[in-house]
C-alpha cells in the first residue's frame, strides 16, 4: 500500500465514524418524537 492509500483509510474511518455520530442521535430523536405523536393519537381516539 502506498502512503495515499493509508491516508484514505484513516480519513475514511474518520468520515464513517463522524457520519455515524451525525445520524444516530437524529434517528433517536425522530423515533422519540414519533412516539409522542403516536401516544397522543392513541389517547385522543376513544
Amino acid at each position: 500500500m502506498n502512503h495515499w492509500q493509508y491516508i484514505a483509510l484513516a480519513y475514511g474511518a474518520f468520515a464513517v465514524l463522524m457520519a455515524w455520530d451525525f445520524i444516530a442521535p437524529r434517528l433517536s430523536l425522530r423515533r422519540t418524537i414519533r412516539n409522542i405523536h403516536l401516544n397522543q393519537r392513541r389517547k385522543n381516539t376513544p
Partner: protein, 249 residues
C-alpha cells in the same frame, strides 16, 4: 440573582433546554462542517509533505484533534457527573451520558488513525507502549460507562452510577497525557504546547488548529443534539413535550 446564574437556571429546565438545543445544534454543526472542510482540504492538499515521513504524516491532522477530544470529553463527562452527583442537577446527568458515545467515537478515531499512521511510518499497526495502551484503556472506560448506563432501568439511577464510574476512571486521563514523559515510548514526545513555542512550523500548524476548533464545535453540536434526545425521551409524557411535539395540525 445575576443574569448568568439566571440563564443557567432557566436553560436547565427541560422545555427551555429543548428549545435552546434545537436552535444551536445546527449552528454548531454548520461551523464545524465549514472548519472541517477547510482543515481537511489544507491537510491533504495545501500543506507540504514532511521531509522525513512523507505523505503519511497528514494523518496527524486527524489523529491529534481526535486524541485531544477523547481526553477533553472524558474530563467534561467526569465534571458533569460530579456536578450532577453533588447538586442533583438532572441536565448535567444527561450531558454527561450524552458525551460518552461522542468520546468513545473520538477515542476510536484516535486508535484507528494512530494504527494506520504507524504501519507505513514505524512498520507496525500496534505496540503495547504506555500511551497507546492507556488510550485503549480509555476506550474501555468509555464503553463501561455506556454499558452501565444502558444496563440500569431507572434512568436517573443509571446516570448517577455511570457518572460515578466516569469520576473514578478520570484518573486515566493524566496517565494518557503524561505517558510520553514518564516512560520511554515509541510515541513521540510533546510537539505542540499550549504555552510557549511549539516545535511545529507555522505553515504546517494552522490546519491542525483549524481541525482542533472544528472537532470542538462538532462536539458541542453533537452533545446538544444527544442531550436533547435523552431529555425528550425522559420527558415524553410531560405536558410541555406533548404540546410541542404532539399533533401538529
Amino acid at each position: 440573582m445575576n443574569s448568568i446564574v439566571l440563564w443557567f437556571n432557566q436553560t436547565g429546565s427541560p422545555p427551555r433546554f429543548d428549545a435552546f438545543a434545537a436552535r444551536w445544534t445546527s449552528v454548531c454543526f454548520l461551523i464545524a462542517t465549514v472548519l472541517l472542510a477547510i482543515g481537511v482540504y489544507a491537510a491533504l492538499a495545501v500543506v507540504p509533505a514532511d521531509y522525513k515521513q512523507g505523505e503519511s504524516f497528514r494523518i496527524l491532522y486527524i489523529h491529534v484533534p481526535a486524541a485531544w477530544m477523547s481526553l477533553m470529553i472524558f474530563v467534561i463527562m467526569a465534571l458533569q457527573s460530579a456536578i450532577a452527583l453533588i447538586w442533583r442537577i438532572k441536565l448535567c446527568e444527561l450531558i454527561a451520558m450524552a458525551s460518552a458515545p461522542i468520546g468513545a467515537l473520538f477515542t476510536a478515531v484516535t486508535l484507528i488513525s494512530g494504527a494506520v499512521w504507524g504501519k507505513p511510518t514505524w512498520g507496525t499497526w500496534w505496540t503495547w507502549d504506555p500511551r497507546l495502551t492507556s488510550e485503549l484503556v480509555l476506550l474501555f472506560l468509555y464503553l463501561g460507562v455506556i454499558g452501565l448506563y444502558s444496563a440500569i432501568d431507572d434512568r436517573r439511577a443509571a446516570a448517577r452510577a455511570a457518572g460515578f464510574l466516569a469520576i473514578i476512571g478520570v484518573v486515566n486521563v493524566p496517565i494518557v497525557h503524561f505517558a510520553v514523559t514518564w516512560w520511554n515510548t515509541l510515541h513521540q514526545g510533546e510537539t505542540i504546547r499550549l504555552i510557549g513555542p511549539s516545535k511545529m512550523d507555522g505553515s504546517m500548524l494552522w490546519p491542525l488548529l483549524v481541525l482542533v476548533a472544528a472537532t470542538k464545535f462538532w462536539y458541542l453540536g453533537s452533545v446538544l443534539l444527544r442531550t436533547r434526545a435523552l431529555n425528550l425521551q425522559q420527558e415524553s409524557r410531560k405536558q410541555w413535550a406533548i404540546e410541542r411535539y404532539g399533533v401538529q395540525s
